[in-house]
Amino acid sequence: MNWLAWDPRAYLGALVGAVAAWFAFGALLEAGHFAPWLFGVLVGVGAAALTREKTLVRGFILAALATWTAAVAQALAQGQGIWHGLVHFHEFLTPSSFALYALGFAVALFVGGTSFHRGATTRPLGA
């Protein structure tokens, strides 16, 4: 039995990437740059750096988690609390901010689903 292509190393790498993205997102926001895509990039790179297994299922889960983490970071940055920020998230969405989120999702999906290690194995869908 395996839930969602579980691999502790990949998720540890993703967690490290998410923490790094959290601080980088805050620093860039203070400098006037809105970069939610950072979460997808760093989460994906963190997972791919540590895992020795390729699976699109993990990439999808990490992409979703990265997007949610970015949304929470944005909600907190607005200063009205997480709940208010997430419930009204769609009201603040513009085509360009949606594109930045989509970029982060796509990078996390494909990078987070792969491995930077030579000889990494591929896990079949559903296994």
Binding site: N2, W3, W68, F89, H90, P124
Partner: protein
């Protein structure tokens, strides 16, 4: 926050769309020998034997739940980006439906009666709702018609039957068969 009608429409859309995806994937896994042997075949092997576990065994719980969790996670993002909570509720509803639907069906068989011994009968190829007995036909007779992959609307199976001649040629099994035939022809030419 979205109104009641958009929420209900989102719930129903996700519930039926998810079943379409599950039905097509179910069809494809039955036409993909390596994938079938690795995972799904275990499911049917259990049905052909005596009941060896509670209603749902660990493999079935993780399989149904992994697919439903993926759907729910995807729909949670759609909810975040649209503000319509119906999308994530539709994912959760499909999750509950998949588990309870199979839990109910598995209550029919026992150590004494294998699934085939239940003699549930060949269902009519309808366009209505896919009731539990309809889908159970696939459990006992996976290679026989009519298709009963669907868990909510039987129409998905009728559409699959209609496109089957076209889709079957594009499956992993058909491609492997074509590659084997081409290799055999090449060998004849070389000899």
């Amino acid at each position: 926050m979205a109104g009641l009608v958009p929420i209900l429409l989102a719930v129903l859309s996700v519930f039926f769309l998810a079943d379409l995806i599950f039905a097509v994937d179910h069809y494809l896994v039955h036409h993909d020998r390596p994938r079938y042997r690795l995972m799904h075949g275990r499911h049917h092997k259990r049905y052909f034997g005596k009941k060896d576990a509670p209603q749902l065994d660990a493999y079935e719980v993780t399989t149904y739940s992994s697919a439903a969790l993926m759907l729910t996670v995807a729909m949670s993002l759609v909810t975040l980006f649209t503000g319509n909570v119906g999308f994530v509720l539709g994912g959760l509803l499909k999750w509950i439906h998949s588990l309870t639907y199979h839990y109910y069906q598995h209550g029919w068989w026992s150590e004494e009666k294998k699934v085939r011994d239940l003699e549930l009968g060949r269902p009519k190829p309808t366009w209505g709702l896919a009731h539990a007995k309809y889908h159970a036909w696939h459990h006992s007779n996976p290679d026989e018609e009519p298709f009963t992959y669907a868990e909510s609307w039987a129409g998905f199976d009728r559409i699959l039957e209609w496109i089957d001649p076209w889709l079957e040629r594009r499956t992993v099994n058909a491609r492997a068969k074509a590659a084997k035939a081409a290799a055999a022809r090449q060998e004849v030419r070389n000899s």
